[in-house]
């Protein structure tokens, strides 16, 4: 039996406002699964022609799948959100690329014909589940020198990247970080970011109920001088600071994907068309390099070159990791095609949720930039991996940019 591969489209993507992890953070007393439910409810509300019983699968990513991030979130969050019992669900993990992997896994199922419409999602409540909670690395990693212990501390891998590419200085990292803050502030002022936020009811035993409507992490007033004064927690006299990295954050994202035919049948919006995707591995000690080979693979599969890409959404786990990517592909640090609405350094990076935030941002750019045909979302992944998804702009008007 042979069958055609079906086109996969991104219908819509939303996220909760992101919070700072910790006892005083926005979501300090809010459950991770409730964040996912808030995103699901908003997603369905925004797409009233999508009857929930048409959802063929729900995949929710989380890095630490215990407690309120355990119990097969794809199923439990679906039930909590009021999806019909007939809608199945699963959980996914590829650390920071969890939501990206949820999207590509399900997209593969759509292309194959197993699904018509799916919900992909990611969540990380790093306040309730600090990085490394409950991990139990095999002693062979160290004994057989399979992975350097430093590779488990992401900040140290970022310092390693500065070592490998010495021309990527702290100053360049801080300048990039400042730009991320400034672009985020502008995107807020322009209403780009708030448009895709799902408000979340938050309760605090001491303060009562509240509502999260905006991101907590951005520092719009920061300056190069302020960034330069920050400590380097991962290495004495190092280069990686809290200012030129993403923080520890809480938040959830969710997206609807569909086959192009189903999107038309159900009169769903089409915000991006999936072109190709790829994942690749690198040395775990310099995990920030991951997006380079994954992008090369994805471009090759799509028959495209880097010159064909008009918009880049690169996750800013660390400024140096973005700079390494730009450096490799010969893009300048302030290339306007890169992260036009800012990125994780400003808005936050709740690990497994970020992949879908990148797609939501790219979709916003596609709407505004009909002259762009292709864009990509890419991110580095713990233990030395990268992931890249290439998308085509459905609003592309055929002009050459």
């Amino acid at each position: 039996m042979s069958r055609p591969i079906r086109d996969v489209v991104l219908v819509d993507a939303v996220r909760t406002p992101f919070g700072k992890a910790g006892a005083t953070g926005l979501y300090a007393q809010t459950r991770a699964d409730d964040l996912v439910v808030a995103a699901f409810r908003e997603l369905l509300r925004r797409n009233p022609t999508l009857s929930p019983d048409r959802i063929d699968d729900v995949a929710v990513a989380a890095t630490t799948q215990i407690g309120d991030q355990g119990l097969t979130l794809g199923r439990t969050a679906g039930i909590l959100a009021g999806f019909p019992r007939s809608v199945p669900g699963q959980s996914v993990d590829r650390m920071c690329a969890g939501a990206m992997t949820a999207v590509t896994n399900l997209a593969g199922g759509i292309a194959f014909g197993a699904y018509d419409v799916v919900v992909a999602s990611g969540v990380e409540h790093m306040g309730r589940h600090p990085m490394g909670e409950g991990i139990d690395p095999n002693p062979r990693f160290v004994a057989e020198h399979l992975v350097d212990t430093e590779a488990l501390v992401m900040g140290k891998t970022a310092e390693n990247l500065h070592d490998r590419l010495p021309h990527l200085s702290r100053v360049r990292a801080d300048e990039f970080a400042l730009s991320s803050q400034e672009k985020t502030a502008k995107a807020y002022a322009d209403g780009v970011i708030p448009a895709d936020l799902a408000p979340v009811a938050i309760r605090d035993a001491q303060q009562g109920w509240g509502v999260a409507t905006v991101d907590e992490p951005p520092r719009p007033g920061t300056s190069l001088a302020a960034l330069a004064a920050l400590k380097t927690p991962f290495r004495a006299h190092g280069r990686v600071t809290a200012g030129n990295s993403a923080g520890l954050n809480d938040g959830a994202t969710a997206a609807v994907l569909a086959s192009a035919d189903t999107a038309r049948e159900l009169e769903l919006s089409i915000k991006a068309r999936l072109v190709s995707f790829a994942y690749a591995g690198v040395e775990p000690e310099v995990m920030g390099l991951g997006p380079v080979p994954s992008t090369q693979k994805a471009l090759a599969k799509a028959g495209l070159t880097i010159e064909d890409i008009g918009l880049f959404e690169i996750n800013e786990a660390f400024a140096v990791q973005v700079l390494a990517f730009l450096d490799h592909f010969g893009l300048s640090d302030d290339d306007p095609r890169v992260n036009p609405f800012g990125g994780a350094i400003a808005v936050g990076h709740p690990l497994a949720s970020s992949g879908i935030r990148l797609m939501a941002y790219l979709a916003k750019s596609f709407e505004r930039r009909p002259e762009v045909q292709y864009g990509l979302t890419t991110m580095c992944i713990g233990l030395g991996m990268g992931g890249t998804v290439i998308w085509e702009n459905p609003h592309f008007d055929g002009r050459t940019s």
């Binding site: 439910v37 808030a38 408000p199 309760r203 001491q206 009562g208 509240g210 509502v211």
Partner: protein, 716 residues
């Protein structure tokens, strides 16, 4: 801001102090963004700091906290910082009403009025702020909680909110913090009477969220998953003028009059003037249409103060506490850890009572239940009855199909008691004949294990006699259910001198698993409920036999507000059964329990139906009247009532002196849960105390002043 440190000291218009043990519901105030707009609102969360098992209530310190939060909101509103005030509850609970723990201490009318007035003063501010106010009913909303909501400009309700009601009238109060004034003006007199009067008098029926929305109590309903966010979005749309909630049109003319008339008829038929709260509520509703808020709230203060200072209300509070607390923790029950597990139940008998028991045990214990009787035909009838009942309940949607299959498979029948060999509990439900029951127990002992619990469902025979001569009399316990078994909440558990702790603990564990309220009774003729009822009926019937006219007999007890009249009770129990129990009781206590010759004649004639109705008015059937031989010594209603009350006081005192139950509280609990006697009587002993009956007849009260009545002297 938190108002946690504020106390009653901030109240300037009141001299009443907060109860030292008040669990204070704080009003936590937070300024929030209204989603989707640039506007901000004040959001108050009612939260007593406990989880939903201890719901929010409103005492004096709680009112003060709300007052302070409203102060802050008012300041913000006047400064233009907020466009709305919203108020909601902690998870699963909005607020379930006034904190009544301090009420027994209130000892004069002025204090009671101050408590009423303080509620009004604080709550009405919610309707008088310069910005619109929204009550977001996220969970249980009762009494004062619902009044908070009614003072607000708008209300949303969560479809998962659980119960919404004004239960005040059931407790002998009125919704006197604005409810009786505001609700009829919002939804009309007819629906307001349903909520405020009719529902509390109908086993305290409550509204679900959909009903609250349909009645117009809530303007909008949202699902629980994102109730707060959607409510705030809706509030933002209302503030922006994008949404205008539609409200019921209220006719304050003829419709209002008719509703009041109907309400008064209903109350009179149910209570015969025995408890004032329902009538006062109707007075307030009647007048609400023409009153200003000031006048309406002042009238509520007067009524509430009067009712708080009434014995009916104090007895109701006592009764409520018994039903809520004592019924759940039976006094005198052994350590539950001693109980043996029950994995299989045997039932001797397959008649109607046995079949009802089989269904109950299967449904609640979810273990195999085997019914036995003399022949296969009887067994099949009994098992068939149970399966039919399961079918009926399944058709009504009470169980899923899987559950129904499970239950049907659990119930089986046999003609050999050898099938009880592995049962952990066997209950007999055969005809009320001591010899028969003794034989059955003796036969059972040849089949069952030495530890199998043996229960008898007798209503009047001696459990002690039944266990005499058995190899293991220590495992025999009386288990007296009330008809209909599925509905009546009471289970009298009777122990004998020989019953051991393990058997008794197991009996209580089973009773709890059956979801019954258990009361420990020491084996004595007819236990508690029937002993009182039969004594009381005996006196009533004797007065009738002496020549007191039917109408006087039928209505002499009306001032008590009992659920049914004496003759109707006799008909429902069945003249034959009642006669049989009277005879048993007469044997036990020949001086006090009489056997009526007229009753004997009725039973001999095979008559089971005593009454016929001319419209709503009952009278004895001609067939019955033709049989009667009555004397010519008529009692007045007053004389008959006193005679009946005197008899009950005597019987209750004897039961306490003989140690049948531990305390008067147990008698009262039994009368409320087993006979449906009303809260305003406090069961029965508070009423016997407040009418002076107990002191006159027995020389002493049952309960100290203040326990279920107004205190005699100011509390410290």
């Amino acid at each position: 801001m938190s108002t946690g440190t504020e106390t009653a000291s901030t109240i300037t218009d009141s001299t009443i102090a907060a109860a030292p043990d008040e669990v204070v519901t704080q009003s936590l105030l937070r300024i929030v963004a209204l989603p989707g707009t640039g506007a901000r609102a004040a959001l108050i969360t009612l939260d007593n700091g406990h989880d939903h098992t201890k719901p929010n209530t409103l005492g004096i310190a709680g009112l003060a906290s709300l007052d302070s939060a409203i102060d802050a909101a008012e300041t913000a509103a006047k400064a233009g910082q907020i466009v709305a005030l919203a108020i909601t509850g902690k998870p699963f609970v909005f607020a379930v009403g006034a904190d009544l723990t301090g009420v027994p201490r209130l000892h004069d009318l002025e204090q009671a009025r101050q408590l009423s007035a303080m509620g009004h003063r604080v709550f009405r501010r919610l309707g008088e702020l310069p910005v619109p106010t929204f009550a977001l009913l996220n969970g249980a909303t009762l009494g004062g909680g619902l009044e908070i909501a009614l003072h607000c400009t708008y209300r949303t309700v969560s479809s998962g909110a659980g119960l919404i009601a004004f239960p005040e009238v059931a407790l002998g109060l009125v919704p006197g913090w604005g409810g009786a004034y505001l609700l009829p003006r919002l939804i009309g007199a007819k629906n307001a009477i349903k909520v405020i009067v009719e529902n509390p008098l109908s086993q305290n029926r409550m509204l679900n969220p959909k009903q609250a929305a349909t009645l117009g109590i809530a303007d909008a309903m949202f699902e629980p998953a994102d109730f707060l966010v959607q409510s705030l979005r809706w509030a933002a749309a209302v503030v922006a003028g994008e949404v205008t909630p539609s409200r019921p049109l209220v006719d304050t003319g003829a419709e209002w009059d008719d509703a009041i008339t109907e309400g008064r008829e209903l109350v009179s038929a149910a209570l015969h003037g025995s408890a004032p709260a329902a009538e006062r509520a109707l007075d307030l509703i009647d007048q609400a249409r023409n009153r200003t808020p000031d006048a309406g709230f002042a009238a509520e203060d007067d009524v509430l103060a009067e009712l708080i200072m009434s014995d009916e209300f104090r007895a109701s509070l006592y009764a409520f506490d018994l039903v809520q607390r004592r019924a759940k923790r039976p006094v005198g029950a052994p350590n539950p850890a001693l109980a043996r597990p029950i994995t299989k139940v045997g039932i001797v008998g397959a008649g109607l009572m046995a079949s009802q028991l089989a269904l109950l045990f299967a449904q609640r214990l979810e273990v195999p239940v085997v019914m036995t009787d003399l022949n296969q035909e009887r067994v099949d009838t009994g098992v068939g009855y149970v399966r039919n009942e399961i079918d009926t309940l399944q058709a009504k949607g009470k169980f899923s199909n899987d559950k129904a299959n499970r239950l049907r498979a659990l119930v089986s029948g046999t003609t050999t008691k050898a099938d009880f060999a592995d049962a952990d509990l066997v209950i007999e439900a055969v005809f009320e004949k001591l010899e028969l029951k003794r034989e059955i127990f003796a036969e059972l002992e040849t089949h069952i294990s030495a530890t199998c619990l043996l229960l008898t469902n007798t209503s009047s025979l001696s459990v002690t006699e039944m266990s005499r001569g058995l190899a293991h009399p220590e495992r025999v316990v009386g288990f007296h259910f009330f008809n209909p078994v599925a509905k009546m909440p009471l289970l009298e558990i009777a122990s004998t001198e020989l019953t051991d702790e393990v058997a008794l603990a197991t009996a209580f564990a089973v009773g709890k698993a059956l979801k019954k309220s258990c009361v420990l009774v020491h084996d004595a003729p007819a236990f508690v409920v029937n002993r009182i009822l039969i004594r009381f009926l005996g006196e009533v019937i004797a007065a009738f036999d002496e020549g007191t006219p039917f109408d006087i007999v039928e209505h002499a007890l009306d001032p008590l507000g009992l659920p049914i009249s004496p003759f109707l009770l006799l008909q429902l129990v069945g003249p034959g059964v009642a006669l049989h129990v009277s005879e048993t009781m007469h044997l036990a206590f020949p001086d006090r329990y009489l056997v009526s010759p007229n009753q004997q004649r009725i039973v001999d004639a095979g008559i089971t139906r005593l009454l016929t109705w001319d419209g709503a008015v009952p009278r004895l059937t001609d067939e019955v009247t033709g049989l009667l031989v009555v004397g010519n010594s008529a009692s007045t209603a007053e004389q008959l009532r006193q005679r009946a009350l005197d008899a009950m006081a005597q019987e209750a005192r004897l039961m306490l002196d003989d140690g049948v139950v531990a305390e008067p509280q147990d008698i009262d609990l039994c009368m409320m849960l087993g006979a449906g006697w009303p809260f305003h009587l406090g069961g029965i002993t508070p009423y016997l105390d407040r009418t002076g009956t107990s002191e006159r007849v027995t020389g002493r009260r049952f309960l100290a002043p203040g326990v279920a009545s107004l205190p005699t002297a100011p509390a410290a």
